[in-house]
């Protein structure tokens, strides 16, 4: 039963967003140092002092560690929900709207896992920070739990719809083309379809270029009442609707199928709660942690039918810039998304949406952008969506 009730519509706003930029190699900085840099930047951009903050919501490090590190004197609310980052936005917006707090500092610091590469494994601080995981007895390779689940359903997608692997590659090519305009991007070099097809296979049918880029860096945001945001220096961006969608069979190998998982619930909820949908947006932000997720979002959002996303992308291809431009007008992940800017678990998509609607997106600015849709996460346990409009 999906409700259209949405009392927080346009009552809560982003007052600002900031990023450190992202790098796809190990740095000698801690995750906390990246988080601190982004948080201090957004506080300064918004003209706020530590004492103006009474709520903190983020991923890692913990909200209390961030409070201590930044000397935020008092909080009346904090939380550390699971990523992707629409979860942080939903929690913060709810807390602000209900009066648990007035001004939330929200943050996410993606940080390269010590087990991602041999070079990160050689960083003893990274190993210790990650805790006792990694080599040792594991459950073995006979599983599709976690990231492998997307690969498993990518094979089913190719089988059911008879589409070639190149349809996945279009997502990566477009992201890289857009990311070339983003100074924060970790992988800004454009690629060709030949590059995509030659990339190292990791788990057939998905290769290295189908997967988001592990990065170090951070994004931070100020979320407050629309009223308070109007008194701050930057244009407010209003949260029109937000949803986290899941279904009962939410395990990777048990979802009913590509036609029925968390994404359909998100779309139904946003269409019920939001004032606008895909025909009325200026920019679209579909998640791209794996390329199959992006194709699936296009289909579930209603741009095209099941299995048709690749053909839809080709029909909406900006050949000159080598990227998707829906209807010759609507950019898709103009910051380069997770495949170019870096794997930010949605914080980069939301930060770019805020900047675009504030008119602060520099070389990537979509003229007169008024409305954006973010559909984050994948199929199983983390499908999410957010509609935003300029205040």
């Amino acid at each position: 039963m999906i409700s259209a009730r949405n009392p927080l519509k346009d009552k809560v706003a982003f007052a600002g967003a900031a990023t450190t930029g992202f790098v796809a190699h190990n740095t000698t900085r801690s995750q906390a140092s990246w988080a601190a840099e982004a948080c201090i930047k957004v506080l300064r951009d918004c003209g706020l002092a530590g004492a103006d903050i009474d709520g903190i919501c983020g991923s890692s490090p913990s909200a209390l560690a961030v409070q201590s590190m930044l000397g935020i004197p008092e909080l009346t609310w904090f939380a550390n929900p699971a990523i992707p980052f629409v979860n942080q936005v939903a929690a913060a917006a709810s807390a602000v709207h209900s009066g648990l707090c007035d001004v939330v500092l929200a943050y996410h610091a993606p940080y390269r896992s010590p087990w991602a590469t041999l070079s990160s494994l050689r960083d003893p601080f990274r190993r210790l920070a990650a805790g006792p995981v990694g080599p040792g007895p594991g459950p073995g390779p006979e599983t599709v739990a976690g990231a492998i689940g997307y690969t498993a359903w990518a094979s089913r997608y190719m089988h059911d719809y008879g589409v070639p692997k190149e349809h996945f590659g279009l997502v990566t090519i477009s992201d890289r083309s857009y990311g070339s305009l983003n100074p924060a991007a970790a992988m800004p070099e454009p690629i060709t379809m030949d590059d995509y097809l030659a990339a190292r296979m990791i788990r057939w049918p998905l290769c290295l270029l189908d997967m988001d880029v592990p990065v170090d860096g951070a994004d931070a945001f100020i979320i407050t009442t629309a009223e308070r945001a109007r008194d701050l220096p930057l244009p407010p961006v209003l949260i029109n609707a937000v949803a986290l969608g899941t279904i009962d069979h939410n395990e990777e190998d048990q979802i009913p199928g590509l036609h029925r998982h968390g994404q359909q619930v998100v779309v139904e909820a946003l269409r019920a709660k939001s004032d606008f949908w895909i025909d009325d947006v200026d920019i679209y932000f579909p998640y791209d942690g794996f390329t199959i997720i992006t194709l699936s979002w296009f289909e579930n959002a209603g741009f095209c039918g099941p299995g048709e996303a690749g053909e839809f992308i080709k029909a909406n291809w900006d050949a000159e810039a080598d990227r998707i431009l829906i209807g010759g007008r609507v950019p898709v992940n103009p910051h380069g998304g997770a495949l170019s800017e870096g794997g930010t678990q949605g914080s980069g998509h939301i930060r770019e949406a805020v900047h675009q609607l504030q008119g602060l997106a520099a070389a990537r600015q979509v003229a007169g952008a008024q409305r954006a849709i973010v559909t984050a996460g994948g199929f199983f346990f983390n499908a999410q969506g957010l509609t935003l409009r300029r205040g």
């Binding site: 080599p135 040792g136 007895p137 594991g138 459950p139 073995g140 390779p141 006979e142 599983t143 599709v144 492998i148 690969t151 498993a152 359903w153 094979s155 089913r156 089988h159 190292r200 296979m201 990791i202 788990r203 057939w204 009962d248 069979h249 395990e251 190998d253 048990q254 009913p256």
Partner: protein, 150 residues
């Protein structure tokens, strides 16, 4: 039926596996090479993964019951790299399959296929349960079954 081994002994036989009170019966079954899946005694429906109540009728009268082990490949992945594992060599991409079991539509389990070339391991192929040994404990796997595609 042999005497049940203790919880401590059971956990020790499956290092690295996420054993819980709710899936312990399944792992005890593995030691006898019996593939057990949770079934609700009250309404007769099967469910995966193991759970302390029936998701369909909320009864807590759950039994781990043996399945025939026949089914159809629903999802395929071929790992070009993966966790170091006894007897697994990724130089030939290692198949991981999710199989829909014949007992009930949508009831699935995930393992590998042995004894078949990778190009024969396809979505829609019929499979049957088999067992191999890994690190001193039986591991349920599948073989391609006669009868071709479903």
């Amino acid at each position: 039926m042999p005497e049940l081994i203790s919880d401590e002994e059971l956990v020790a036989r499956f290092p690295g596996q996420a054993l819980t009170r709710d899936n312990a019966a399944h792992y005890r079954g593995r030691l006898e090479r019996r593939f057990l899946v949770d079934r609700c005694v009250a309404c007769g429906r099967w469910h995966q993964p193991p759970a302390p109540v029936c998701p369909a009728c909320w009864s807590s009268d759950i039994e781990a019951a043996e399945v025939a082990g026949t089914g159809t490949i629903h999802l395929t992945v071929f790992l070009h790299q993966g966790p170091p594992t006894t007897g697994v060599d990724y130089s030939t991409p290692y198949p991981v399959v999710t199989v829909e079991l014949d007992e009930q539509p949508g009831l699935r389990t995930t393992s590998t296929v042995v004894g078949a070339p990778n190009d024969a391991i396809t979505i829609g192929a019929r499979v049957a349960l088999d067992w191999i040994e890994r690190d001193g404990a039986p591991l349920p796997v599948f073989r391609l079954a006669a009868g071709g595609r479903s």
